[in-house]
Symmetry: C3
Subunit: 450 residues, 3 copies
């Protein structure tokens, strides 16, 4: 990536501090406290946990907070009541505390209704959830739309429970309130938008999705620190599913501005980077992400769209069909620690997370710069010599930069983007972008749309 | 196929008794007498043999018989005179009978003109046909459009003939009459047609084409026993080439109703099932048949259209270009027994024939059910839970049916057929069809064209 | 190629004497003196060398000569001053001649300005060019657009030079004059053109490009000796780059007549034949050349367009985007002897050159004959028998010619060219062309555009 980056440094100052793996690693280290501080917060799709999370994110980047009242209809759904929890525990008849929310936010099933009762083990058991194959892990369970309560605990503890009476207490509330999401918008010279969506509703799960929150925050901070971009960037931090549904409902009239999009998450495990195509399959973001993964030098893979996963389900529903792909490492459901207490900091590799940051930053950089140009001297080659471009240097070996110029001139009939020229020529995108800058400077190109 | 069929049983009651290999095998056993009774009949492209054949078929399904008079112009051709034969034999000078039509219908060249003469072996020989490489087999020869006569016999007999005088007798007639074909039409709720064509002109050849006749009859009987179908089904039993030409000439103004079609034949040998694409190459029937062969669990193969073979030559001529493919096992000319007396019941494997029946029935079932739908709640996912569809079962494992629902909802923008959704999702067509039924029931879909 | 050619002989009398490798080899032998006589001429992009070269070519075919005055603007360029050279040498201080243009035309850098001076070895050295890795070879250097002078010599000689004073003389002139190119146009019945461009500016380099000159001359002579062709053929013999730029500038209003084109050169080395696609990538000439190389029985390869090489750079610039591909054996820069004195007759294999001739002639023949037809009897097959075409012979085995007829009839709906039919059917183009002739004769086809 070094040579490409060297050329890219000239061509694309945008997100300049996120160009090398070293720079990305340094930014991941700086984002680490955000993750460690957010880890203990008991988040759900509504309530104090989400608000605390967004407040912490807002320490790094400006966030506009939206509260959508419970009961608001959002397409086929309605915003649920707000859930808050103060404590939850089980004592055995000797007063020994078996399970306590204070030990782990996963111990209580999300959206559990209040309980204060004594019951036998047989009565309790249907409300207890564990993972027999991983007896030390606590599972993650929710019951957002069916009133219920439950505890999650390690199978080892569950298996040790003896018959008897148990005192069960869940001090929660499920009351009219609101659903909360936050947005950081960085206006560009164009109203065309790049949308980044990351979910903020999971409690103490690290890969899913403190890594997504960290990535999105770092990217947003990086763009704000760059010169004004061409595209408008919109980062949405919202609860999964109902959050993107609510966001879409409130933004229905303007989503046609979204020209690129990424759902970010599950970004720090050691699995290969995985780009999931948008429903369109051939949107610009699909092509860019495929190029980035293919040329990253790491083992990335690209998979087709399917209608399960995270918020791409809603963003890519047929009534919207937005050009939004998803970038993760190992996808949901495909790693054993998924949705359990084992999705903790041990699962995270800082270099892997840095690599995810580098890939997502490069996707943004290419989207930012991927114009189509028109050669203003299309009949025969122009004389590069009289413009000081013959023998110009800048590539990885003599002649490479000049080859880039010839490729751009030959292909720029308004139909080919710089990325398409990079793919056809086999030259790095950043070198092609630098070549386009040189030709723009020499008055030999104009952007296609002007 | 079991799980698929289980789902399919709910989704597509059409041809319900032809869903499993066992059911198909049972129907083949029931069709066996049709084949054994038709085997000894001396058929040709016109005459009593064809009429007897159609009469026997009409014992199982209603057939509308059409007689096209000799001399009728049919495009570039005209219907030939009618050929009938009462007997044919050769005696040597000792009165020993060398060849007798009563022993095998292949002994006389089809459309042989009458002969009653004594001639030397040298005079006779140009009229004798055998297969030196297979000395025990009798070849099948015809001379429809050039007046001639001939005998076909085993090379062993031919090689044993000694010089001398032979008495030769062919008691045939070639006179104005008519060409006969039969049709069984089963009206559907739509005038869109599925055309099945099978040739009935070959004498005692078993694979070619008693198997095709048996298959078509069984399918027609099966559809008649089902509830009224969506498509109109038209089964044509006609002589090869001139039969399809005559049929096309008489139906020219209405062939645009044919939306799907199959030429059926050579369906019982032990070779792999072979689907030959229509001239269009990408007609719905091509896609359906490819899917059926690919998912059948047997070794099927799909080959491109070429302008030789059976009646697809006419149906796919450029002036018609009908969406008609061809389903056989080993194609014409590609098995040694082809067009010889060795194409007899020994060549036929009842299980292979049952498999051909299962495949063709599934092609019809998918054509019947392969609608495009429009999601009536296209913006974000609808809530399945409030419609009793969340966690609904029906697939091969938990969650599979729900996945089918999500795929259908996501893809149903009116452009994707259920088959395309099945292919994209990797889920069985029958499960997708069952899912579409459930969503129709919940008011979440409408067919694309209404 | 024999059987194909046999059929082709009937179908395409065009270039009849260039159908077999033997015929092509015989024509290469006849073109050999052209190459040996042109070898010693000191050519450049302008001047007496080019004029002598074109005069010699004109001994075999009529050439229309164009002189474009120095200073004429041609798109972004202008025609340079004319360069002529009478002598060039270096003597050491003992009067020993180190280098002499009379020994090899490569010894002087093309477009060297006049010099007459004594200088030290240190002063001289920046003007001396050699190839250290190949110490016996003289490199080929030019400096058309930056005033400079230089000598090229073997590294062995260069390395032996001892310090001292050297007398240096270049007796050249760089003065207003003109740029010269020649054209041989053979009018066809249509104004659609096949353009062949070959460069004539290189001095004593054999593969690059006496082979191209020989090939183009032989093809032009061959077409002139055939019956009047359908296409109009235009052979341009011009200097590289500035020659094609000047030609395009003078023919801008009529280049839309160019329907096919080939840049020819580097045709005699032992490397595999290489077709470089036009910028369009799917022009008719691309498809034809791919077919010819694929079916030639030799190891040809097809590569994508790239904007470096020879005159395809200009002909395929986006403002023209002509359907012009390039046929060479080993491309420029990809063989060690390229642009050195080792590109001499030792590098040339007469059989390889004959093969290049055969391939280019076949490309022309297919272009000439590659019509789309309409079947005038499109509904069902026509009866071949009543037109004497049933059982007609002409292919490599019985039935092949009839298969060709069936393929043509089936595919000829006006959308498929004979080449597309050849590719689909797997039958040789020449057999398909012969079949089309037979069907035209029987009144069963008409050309698509009439």
């Amino acid at each position: 990536m070094n040579a490409q980056t060297a050329a890219g440094a000239t061509a694309t100052p945008f997100l300049a501090e996120l160009q090398t793996l070293e720079q990305c690693r340094e930014r991941i280290d700086r984002a680490w406290p955000l993750m460690t501080e957010l880890y203990p917060v008991c988040r759900s799709i509504t309530g104090a946990g989400v608000r605390m999370t967004l407040e912490r994110v807002a320490a790094g980047i400006p966030l506009e907070i939206t509260e959508v009242p419970s009961g608001t209809p959002v397409f086929d759904w309605e915003v649920p009541r707000e859930w808050n929890i103060r404590g939850a525990w089980i004592d055995d008849e000797n007063g020994r505390r078996i399970v306590d929310l204070r030990d782990h936010t996963l111990h209580v099933m999300s959206y559990s209704t209040p309980v204060d009762a004594v019951m036998t083990l047989d009565e309790l058991k249907p409300h207890l959830h564990s993972i027999p194959e991983h007896p030390d892990w606590i599972p993650y369970r929710t019951s957002y739309y069916r009133e219920n309560w439950g505890f999650c605990l390690s199978h080892r503890v569950l298996a040790g429970l003896r018959p008897g009476n148990y005192r069960v207490r869940i001090d929660s509330s499920l009351e009219p309130g609101s659903l909360t999401y936050g947005e950081c918008v960085i206006p560009g010279t164009s109203s065309d938008e790049f949308l980044v969506f990351t979910h903020v509703c999971h409690p103490s799960l690290c890969n899913d999705n403190l890594t997504g929150i960290a990535l999105a925050s770092t990217l947003a901070a990086g763009i704000r620190a760059s010169a004004r971009p061409r595209l408008t960037y919109r980062f949405v931090f919202g609860p999964g599913t109902i959050g993107s549904i609510a966001w879409l409902a409130r933004n229905e009239s303007r989503v046609d501005r979204v020209r690129f999009g990424l759902v970010l998450g599950l970004a720090g495990d050691r699995g290969p980077m995985t780009f999931k195509r948008s429903r369109r399959g051939n949107a610009d973001v699909d092509r860019i992400a495929e190029y980035v993964l293919r040329t990253a030098g790491t083992q990335g893979r690209v998979i087709d769209f399917s209608p399960y996963g995270y918020d791409e389900r809603q963003l890519c529903s047929p009534g919207f069909n937005l050009p939004v792909g998803r970038l993760t490492r190992t996808p949901n459901n495909e790693y054993p620690e998924y949705h359990s207490s084992a999705d903790n900091f041990d699962l995270i590799d800082r270099d892997a997370l840095a690599e995810s940051l580098a890939a997502s930053a490069r996707i943004l950089r290419i989207a930012e710069r991927n114009t189509r140009y028109v050669n203003l001297n299309p009949k025969c080659e122009p004389r590069l010599g009289k413009r000081g471009l013959y023998g110009a240097t800048g590539g990885r070996h003599p002649g490479e930069f000049e080859h880039a110029l010839l490729w751009i001139l030959n292909q720029s009939d308004g139909s080919q983007s710089l990325l398409e020229i990079a793919e056809k020529s086999g030259l790095p995108f950043e070198l092609i972008a630098a070549g386009a800058d040189a030709l723009l400077g020499a008055g030999l190109l104009r952007p296609e749309n002007t």
